[in-house]
Structures are given as C-alpha cells and as structure tokens.
Amino acid sequence: MTSVPTVDPEAAPSAPAPRRAHRPTHGRMVGGVAAGLAEHVRVDVFWVRVVLVVTSWFAGLGVIVYAALWRFLPQSVPVDAHTAHGVPQRSRVETGQTLALLALGFGVLLVQQDLGLGLGDRVLWPVTIAVVGVALVWRQADEAQRQRWASDSPEVPVVGLILGSGGRSGLLRLVAGVLLIGTAVSLLVAQAGGLSTLLSALVAAALGVLGIALVLGPWIGRLVQDLATERRERIRSQERADVAAHLHDSVLQTLALLQRNADDPKAVVRLARRQERELRDWLYDDERTAERTLRTAVLEVAAEVEELHDVSVEVVCVGDVPLVDGTRALVAATGEAIVNAAKHSGTDQVAVYVEVTGSAVELFVRDRGVGFDPESVPADRWGVRHSIMERMRRHGGTAVVRSAPGDGTEVRLAVTR
C-alpha cells in the first residue's frame, strides 16, 4: 500500500492516457489523499484509511506517506469549477468513522509511548502539533488553488494566491496552522535547552525570516507578476489562434472558391453573401447558444431563402418574443412569402420587417418588383398566397396581400402573441 505509485503501472501502454491518481476536491476529510487512493485502486476508502492508520504505528510511516502523497498527487480539477462548492462534502457517518479511526490510531500510539516503543514524549507531542499545523496550512493552499481555478482571471493577486477568497476563515486556518508549527518548534527547542535558548532561538529565527524576505521578496513579487503576464499572453495567443483557425476555415476557403468561380457572377454573389452572413453571425452574435426566438428564426428563414433563390433579404426586427405555436406558424408563413417575392417579383431585394407590439406580432414582407392586381389574378396563381392565409388563419392570425402592377407587393402577417 505504501508504495502505490501515482501512475498505475497496470495501465495498458496503448491506452491514450494513463490513468492518473488525483485528490478529489470534494468528499475529502483532510487532504483527500485516502479518497483519491481509494478511487485509484478501487477499494473502499475505509480500508485505505485503516491501512494508513495502522502503518502510522510503525515509526509514523502512514503519516509520512500521507504527507508525501498530499504533496505529489494533484488536485483533480472540478468538472465545473464554479459549482464545486455546492457539492455535498461528505456524509456524517464517514466523518464519524474517520474520527474514530484517528482516535484509535492515536490511542495505540500513546500506548506505544507507555510501553517505551514509541518516539518518546519529548518528540511525539511537538511532532503531533506540527503535523496538525502543516495539515491546516496545506489544506488552505488547496482551497486557494481551487478558488483560483474558479475565478479563471489572468491576474495572480499575491494575497489571493495564499488565502484564496476564503477571507476570514482562510486567514484563520492559515494563522492557526503557522502558530501550531511555531509552537511545535518552540517546544522542541525549549526541551533541548530551556527557556533562555528558546528566546534567542526565536530572535534568530525572526531575523532569518526577515533576511530571507528582504532577499527573496522582490524576486517573488516579480515571479508573480511574470506569471500573470504569461497567463494573459497565453489567453491572448489562444484567442488569436482561434480567430486564425476560424478565418482559415471560412474566409480563406471562400476566397479560394471565389477565385475559382470568378467567371460565374451568380456563384460569386452567392458565395460572398453566405460568407458575409456567416462572418457576421460569428462576429456579432453571442446569443447562439440561447434558445431560438422569433428573431433568430426569421433570420434563419431569410438566410435559407437567400441561399436558395439568389435574392438578398434585409431583415429588420423590433423587439423579440420566444417561439410558440402562433409565432412558429408566422415564421413558416414568412418563409413562403419571401420565396414568393423571390420567385415572382422580378427583383432581387426583399425587405422583411418584424415588430413585436404589446399584444401582437406584425411582420411585413415587401418587394419593389412587378407587382400584380390581386383582383385579376387567376385562381391557380393564388395557390401559395392562399396557403399562407390558410396557415395564419388556423393559428388565429391574419395575412393580407397588398399589391398593384408596377408597385411591388407587400404581405402583412399578424398574430397575437
């Protein structure tokens, strides 16, 4: 157990990525080492803890292994760093169980002391206190790292690096940890040479820390700064790479196609129009992931007709509503109306105007083409127009066609929201 490597040697060499042990960010008791190991070797976490406690009886081996693994096993990155805090941490039963195990383990250690098999009182207590202190500080370091993941800002605030945004509790944990370690060291020193040695040792230690801070302070500061710059740079270059990749897939391809189709004006216009639309979507529309609304649906329909019938459709929208039954019928009817205009008007410009008012949605499809006299059109040419009207009527809407020869055509569709 003690020699469990961080990389499973059993992992098939052909596997794309070797299975690596991680310390889970939730469900941990102290540092998540036991939980991580249990997950990795697929045994119940209880047995891992038992083994760790039992090995601690032999010159503290379990504790040393635990500490080593805590340092070397990476924390697993939470699936969603932002919600990791909401995950239930651990069950009450597990907590009780682990506490009992720890108490048992420590009890056996004390018995060993009494039997003269252990480290001796002079060492055991300072070491125990130091271990608790170190655990507190490391725990806080984990916490801070997790918060940094959650914030994903390129800045590396020096204070935040240590404390995270835990604020007071983080600070408390840190101070308690440092105090415990200090106490442990003081105990050791005091035991070795009495109180007077302790004082001079403390002064010496303080001076040493001060000196190191003076020497290393600016250097650490610059390191932090460099880290932030480097991170920002990386984000930027990644963005640039994304843009380049996108342009390559879209614009450059289209330009190549345009050159090849240079003698076919229709194809050129179609290609250019499609590329323009696509690029615009990419540049301006950050709502792609959002649900489909009336506006996006109308834009989509217009784009489809543009594509199929070589016309340009200008869509102007005022207001927006979610797609429901009535508006969906409206969108379908709009598609038919635009196709009609594209086919029969003789122009290649169609204007679509959508307005959402208090209680209704109005939509106009207008062309400046040849137009026709609605009174004198033979019944068979009315087919599509009737189907538009029929569709709107079924959904409680209306459709009105206005046209005159030479004056273009306008279809007005309306439906209550």
């Binding site: 301006y284 529309d285 950050d286 709502e287 200008e314 102007v316 929208c317 005022v318 105007y353 307005e355």
Partner: protein, 226 residues
C-alpha cells in the same frame, strides 16, 4: 432645390454635389467613386481620422461619406472634430457594421444619415443629395434601431422630456421606413407630402442626437446585433 428628389432616381436636381469619401479600405473608396463619380464631384478621399479631418476642413464638401470604422477613433471621432470647427458640415455614415452601438455612436456624433454599404449607386447618390439639402437619411435598419430604442421598454415615468419620445406620426414614419418604404411611398401611404415626411425624419434624427437618455447608449451596447 425642391428638396424632394425621389430616392431611386439617379442624380440630383440642379448642381452636382461635392463629396469627400472617408474609408480605410482603398478598394471600397475606389468602388464608391466609380459608382457615383458621374453624378457627384469627389473632392478627395481619406483613410484615417487625422487625414480626414484635415481634408474636410481644407476642402469643405457638401457631404462627407463617412465609414463608421476608422483607424484612430472611428467615424464618430471625425464628425466630432470637424463639427467643432465647422458645424455646417454634413455627414452620411456608410457602414458594413450592423452593431447598434456603432451606428448610434456615429449618429449621435452628428451624422445626418446612415446607410449600409450594400446600397446601390443611384440610391447612394439620392441619399447624398438628401443629406446635402439638410434632410436626414434613415435606412430601414436605422429606423428599426430607433423604434427599438424608443420603444416602451423604458418606463414612461423616466421619459419626461419631449426629446425622449417619438410622436405618433414619427413612429408611423419610422415603421414604414423600416418596412422598406421610400420617402415617396411613405408620403403616399400616410397622405402627407414628401416634405412632411422629411420633416418628421429630421425631427427623429434630432431626438436621436440630442436626447439625453443614457438608456439609448445602454440599449445600443446591449444590443450588439440587429
């Protein structure tokens, strides 16, 4: 000047208008000049803010064709700097950008109209003539922006000034323009004269430029796509 040249007619009435074309794409400038060069007098071109301001002040044209996106601060910056010394200059914004924030910014900086770059040559000439006459030119898209920005999404209580509201007639005119109607057609539809339509549009433009409602800018920023 009869003040009502039909939008689709090519060429203006009377004298040729003079223009300066400001756009950072040389190819686009050449294209525009080739298309409208016969009907207007092109005094010069410029590719960035500084040279544009110098050019316009040295050769004051009837109309400046202004690209919204320019190196050195954008079309809005050109309009602001020129209008500071020469408040009579008239700007027509010409853009591929559909971003409401850009359009509103250049209009509020003083442009008298906004058309997209897909506009045809004759329509562009008509728009130039209209702006030169002191009227406003609204594309369907700009009209849509205006309706959206001035729509009821903002509580009436906050809207106390006349500047922050569109009259019923102005709304009707905007709605028809958004539907793709030319001024002439709007006039026919509403049984008013073209001159009256122009008056309404100009008054909407004034409100767009002067309205102190900060919601307008916020609205534009929120609405990155038409």
């Amino acid at each position: 000047m009869n003040g009502a040249p039909p939008v689709t007619a090519s060429g203006g009435v009377g004298t040729q208008r003079s223009v300066v074309v400001v756009d950072d794409h040389q190819m686009f400038r050449a294209g525009v000049i080739a298309e409208i060069g016969a009907q207007v007098r092109v005094l010069g071109e410029a590719a960035d803010v500084d040279s544009a301001v110098r050019m316009i002040l040295r050769h004051p044209p009837d109309v400046v064709l202004l690209d919204v996106h320019l190196p050195g601060g954008g079309g809005a910056e050109v309009a602001r700097r020129v209008l500071a010394t020469s408040p009579e200059t008239r700007f027509l914004a010409l853009s591929v950008s559909d971003a409401a924030a850009d359009v509103i910014a250049v209009i509020r900086a003083g442009a008298r109209g906004y058309v997209t770059k897909s506009i045809t040559g004759p329509e562009l000439v008509a728009a130039i003539n209209r702006v030169a006459d002191g009227d406003a030119v609204f594309s369907p898209r700009l009209a849509g922006f205006v309706l959206d920005a001035f729509s009821g999404s903002i509580a009436v209580a906050e809207v106390d000034e006349d500047l922050d509201r569109l009259s019923g007639r102005e709304k009707e005119v905007m709605r028809l323009i958004a539907r793709g109607y030319a001024y002439k057609e709007v006039a026919k539809e509403l049984f008013i004269s073209v001159k009256t339509v122009e008056t309404h549009v100009s008054s909407v433009l004034r409100k767009l430029q002067l309205s102190s409602r900060h919601e307008l800018t916020r609205w534009a920023n929120e609405r990155r796509l038409i």
